[in-house]
């Protein structure tokens, strides 16, 4: 049988074949060829697209190259959301490769945060890790760690080093032996169809009667519209994490330990069921 640890590797090494095309209105000195790249699901766009920027810079004038930003079918892509989440939410039921448009002009201030350097990505990533631990352990585990341990989490992510990352992250996945799980589960539920950016609430992994709460229990509690069937009994939504639909009977404690992103959050997409 597959070991649970194999799931950790499968999640870490997930990739999305992507085709980057320069926006047609960008001014170029020569024709810009599209650029193909396998994007890590667990990383962030601005962390892994230096080569993309370099590629398009070659055909542009220096003065036209300002902050790069990405868009999919008219929707600006938030670099501070993990790549896998962006794909699952916007493009999971379309044919590969994922076609992303690259922009250097008209930065959409209202939709995107600026990303002037890698330090900003690191700060954002670490803030998410800290927020997750505030929920899981009242910040006790993250605060007990030294600065170098925090740095190791970031370096592991930045350099795609699974072992380096998990040497520290495993501590964030532990809980006291007298408990059955974390204090609260760090999760965020995203739906393109709603106004709100995401749903995040306090949710315990264990019910009052000692039973492990499931993914279905979580959804019923915080996003019931995602799981109520249509009048004809058909499921109208897919509940997706890392490109798959986990069984609703899966305990959220297990999901949190094995299918969180490196920021220690479970990022869950609710998307319309594809129509064939």
């Amino acid at each position: 049988m597959t070991d649970d640890k194999d799931v950790l590797r499968d999640v870490w090494f997930g990739r999305i074949p992507t085709c980057f095309t320069l926006y047609q209105d960008e001014i170029t000195e020569r024709e810009a060829e599209p650029y193909y790249l396998l994007l890590p699901r667990i990383s962030y766009l601005t962390l892994v697209t230096d080569k993309v920027k370099k590629h398009f810079q070659k055909v542009m004038r220096q003065e036209d190259v300002t902050e790069i930003w990405f868009e999919y079918e008219g929707t600006p892509l938030k670099w501070h959301f993990p790549i896998g989440l962006l794909f699952d939410l916007h493009a999971s039921n379309t044919a590969l490769p994922w076609n992303i448009t690259v922009h250097f002009k008209n930065f959409p201030e209202k939709d995107l945060l600026h990303c002037p350097s890698k330090d900003v990505i690191e700060a954002h990533f670490m803030a998410c890790v800290k927020e997750a631990d505030a929920l899981k352990h009242k910040s006790q585990v993250i605060n007990e760690m030294q600065k170098k341990d925090h740095k190791q989490l970031w370096m592991g992510l930045q350099n795609d080093k699974f072992d380096q990352f998990w040497a520290i992250n495993r501590k964030l996945m532990e809980y006291p032996p007298e408990d059955s799980g974390f204090r609260y589960i760090p999760f965020r539920i995203y739906q393109v169809t709603t106004e709100r950016p995401f749903i995040q609430k306090l949710f315990r992994p264990v019910a009052a009667n000692g039973q492990l709460n499931t993914l279905g229990d979580l959804l019923k509690e915080v996003c019931p519209s995602a799981v109520t069937p249509e009048v004809d009994g058909e499921k109208k939504n897919q509940v997706m994490v890392h490109g798959i639909e986990p069984l609703l009977e899966t305990p959220v404690q297990w999901l949190s330990e094995h299918m969180s992103y490196p920021d220690n959050f479970l990022h869950i997409s609710i998307i319309p069921q594809p129509t064939d």
Binding site: H80, K110, L113, A123, H124, M126, A127, C128, K130, E131, A134, L135, S139, I142, N143, H150, Y184, R196, P197, F198, Q200, K201, L202
Partner: protein, 143 residues
Amino acid sequence: MSEVEEQLPVSPQDGGRGECVEESSDRGAAVGAAEPPPPSAGSPVTEESAAEDTKKKIDILLKAVGDTPIMKTKKWAVERTRTIQGLIDFIKKFLKLVASEQLFIYVNQSFAPSPDQEVGTLYECFGSDGKLVLHYCKSQAWG
């Protein structure tokens, strides 16, 4: 129970959402220019009798860190959909900081939420005693 509320101009950076940050007054406390001493853990808090879910606004308590200027008014009733960036802009205006000066906001004295985070979500997850305590600082306090 009546609450004295002061309408404040909407920050133009709010994307036209039309929210305002309103001063939330303590029941029984003197209303006016006199600033009461910084609230201790046991000081009275404005209590809404309406259910949490239907409350459009949440109470935020702002605490200064280090040598950052202290807000004359610390308690504010804020729309749930207000973002951290919106709050930062408001505090900077209130403290008369220049746009180039940075301001950091922390939850639980441990993490700085993303600028696009909604205060309502933070209140749900990290609020206590009917309010969300946020620390603000001109420099990075907790990394």
